[in-house]
């Protein structure tokens, strides 16, 4: 059976964008292409996590699970894990 792609959404609310979320949009430059091939990455409207969550911006949603304070390094690891478990 063909594996379904990992759905990744990067919050592009202004707060996330300026706190480093923008950097994640350069994913082509820092994520392993083999991993990228199995992911569907898009920027999305504010996930509203900053209003309720206890974490910190930027927020990323991977297969509908929310992660907070995501930097480039963490982004790579999260994607690798999600692809492995898919």
């Amino acid at each position: 059976m063909k594996k379904s792609k990992v759905k990744v959404r990067i919050c592009l609310g202004t707060a996330c964008f300026v706190q480093g979320g923008a950097d994640l949009l350069l994913y082509n430059d820092f994520v392993d292409p083999a991993i990228l091939a199995d992911c569907e990455i898009e920027g999305c409207s504010c996930l509203d996590e900053c209003k309720v969550g206890n974490g910190s911006a930027p927020y990323v949603s991977i297969n509908d699970k929310i992660y907070s304070g995501v930097n480039q390094d963490m982004f790579c690891k999260l994607l690798a894990e999600a692809v492995k478990n898919a």
Binding site: T14, F17, A22
Partner: protein, 482 residues
């Protein structure tokens, strides 16, 4: 220079946002002294020596964002609340642009080359044979540099096959293109303000955050809060700095309290037209070259360090200058605020446009206003930008070669070969040295475009996203338009 987004800039944005939130909620004076404790909570693992120093640095950052000249006005006994009262009552003078936090300075040792234990003591010893001063000796089979002989040319580092030679710079001194940064007798940073050209490279290169810009945010925030009629002039570099489209950004800026938004690209069109005809005239008169005049840091560089170029730079006003005229004509009773990527624009506004420009803030500061006011650019209903056809190409002013490109597009060469252009892409010690030689040997070009930041304004010290991403987003926006 440090990468744009690092722990320090992210912290800076957080502090700015908290200060503004309190300002707009009328709780600034009341909460000011609590902010450092809230931002650096007890359980935090500190990056500096301890949380107490981190809190002290937050205090200084709050002072800088409110425009206080920390060098001259640092009273440790005075509560932040008192400072805030002062700032709310009266705007601080905008110059000098930069200030230092002496307790934040790490007192980096003098710039030096050192040989690490990666040295294999090889037989060829290229370090020794290539050192012009015979400064390298071998002790116990390992190379050593004799400090008193070393002239820090870096040859040994270039030739070592094991990369065993390391260069340990003083980041701020290294970054300053005009040697305006010195250490005092205690080894602590000092800025020679009369030499400073306001490029902001030292601010961005200090990993300890010991050099800060005195923000012009408060005067602007006060205007917004008092409901004054303020028109925002947005620099061409703004495209790609925020999520969403330019139209949405315009709507967001208006939601933040600005009355209207004028694109500085509109003023850039006037600059391009006038600079094109000025170039034409000058070349007719047999002059050898002309430089652009829109980069305020370059203007300061010429005024202070290379007086010869005064006659060579264009007398045309910068896009900001013409944009202020456009605003004045359209809304005679409004105040105008320039929003850009640049620190030196504050200097330009304070020196040249005291009467027509009422404030200068950066993109990063605008972002703090958005976050403090809970404005989400991407969720806004796009505002109409009006007819932008004639000046759309002038948004390229924000990129290296963009200014020269716009000027040439408006140059009438009457069938003769087009003038040659050249660009100085970023000021550093080397390009400044080169420009100083132009008096004796003119550059091989008719129009020289000078930009202090490498890559153009999109790499300015007040930007939010990395230049590479800004270019990507700008290209995507252009594609979406078609």
């Amino acid at each position: 220079m440090l990468e744009l987004n690092n722990q320090y800039t992210l912290m800076k944005r957080k502090i700015d946002t908290e200060v503004l939130k309190n300002f707009f909620n009328d709780t600034l004076v009341e909460n000011a002294d609590r902010l450092p404790l809230e931002i650096i909570p007890k359980h935090r693992t500190p990056f500096r020596c301890c949380i107490y120093k981190e809190r002290a640095m937050v205090r200084y950052r709050i002072m800088a964002i409110s425009g206080i000249d920390i060098e001259r006005d640092d009273d440790e006994e005075k509560p932040l609340a008192e400072y805030m009262k002062e700032v709310l009552a009266e705007d601080k003078p905008p110059l000098p642009l930069l200030t230092t936090i002496s307790t934040g300075c790490s007192g980096c040792p003098k710039s030096q080359y050192r040989i690490s234990d990666g040295c294999r003591g090889c037989f060829a010893r290229p370090c020794m044979s290539n050192c012009p001063k015979d400064a390298i000796i071998f002790i116990n089979g390992q190379a050593h540099i004799q400090e008193d002989r070393c002239i820090r040319c870096g040859k040994c580092m270039e030739v070592c096959p094991f990369h065993a030679v390391v260069h340990i710079p003083v980041p701020c001194e290294e970054a300053c293109p005009v040697d305006a940064i010195k250490k005092n007798e205690d080894g602590i940073v000092e800025i020679e303000h009369n030499k400073c050209i306001g490029c902001g490279k030292c601010v961005r290169s200090c990993p300890f955050g010991a050099i800060v810009e005195r923000s012009g945010l408060f005067p602007v925030a006060k205007m917004l809060k008092n409901g004054e009629k303020v028109v925002a002039m947005i620099a061409p570099a703004i495209e790609g700095q925020f999520p969403g489209t330019l139209g949405q950004l315009k709507a967001a800026i208006k939601k933040a309290g600005f009355y209207d938004v004028v694109e500085v690209a509109e003023g850039a069109e006037v600059t391009s037209i006038k600079e094109a005809s000025e170039l034409h005239e000058r070349l007719e008169e047999g002059e050898n070259f002309m430089t652009t005049s829109c980069c305020p840091s370059y203007m300061e560089l010429v005024d202070i360090h290379i007086p010869y170029l005064k006659q060579k730079r264009s007398t045309t006003l910068s896009p900001m200058g013409y944009s202020a005229e456009i605003v004045r004509e359209k809304y005679p009773d409004a105040k105008s605020v320039f929003i850009g990527p640049c620190f030196a624009k504050k200097v330009e506004a304070a020196k040249k446009y005291r009467d027509s420009i009422d404030g200068v803030i950066t993109f990063a500061e605008l972002a703090s206003i958005f976050v403090a006011k809970d404005i989400d650019v991407r969720e806004m209903e796009a505002d109409d930008l009006g007819d932008t056809a004639s000046f759309e190409d002038c948004r390229q002013f924000a990129l290296t070669t963009g200014v020269a490109g716009c000027v040439m597009a408006r140059y009438d060469n009457e069938g003769k070969p087009a003038p040659k252009t050249m660009s100085i892409n970023g000021l550093d010690k080397k390009t400044v040295r080169l420009m100083k030689t132009w008096e004796k040997r003119a550059p091989d070009a008719d129009l020289v475009e000078v930009m202090a930041c490498e890559g153009g304004c999109i790499a300015g010290p007040g930007t939010i996203v990395k230049p590479a991403l800004a270019v990507k987003l700008r290209t995507a926006a252009k594609a979406a338009q078609k």
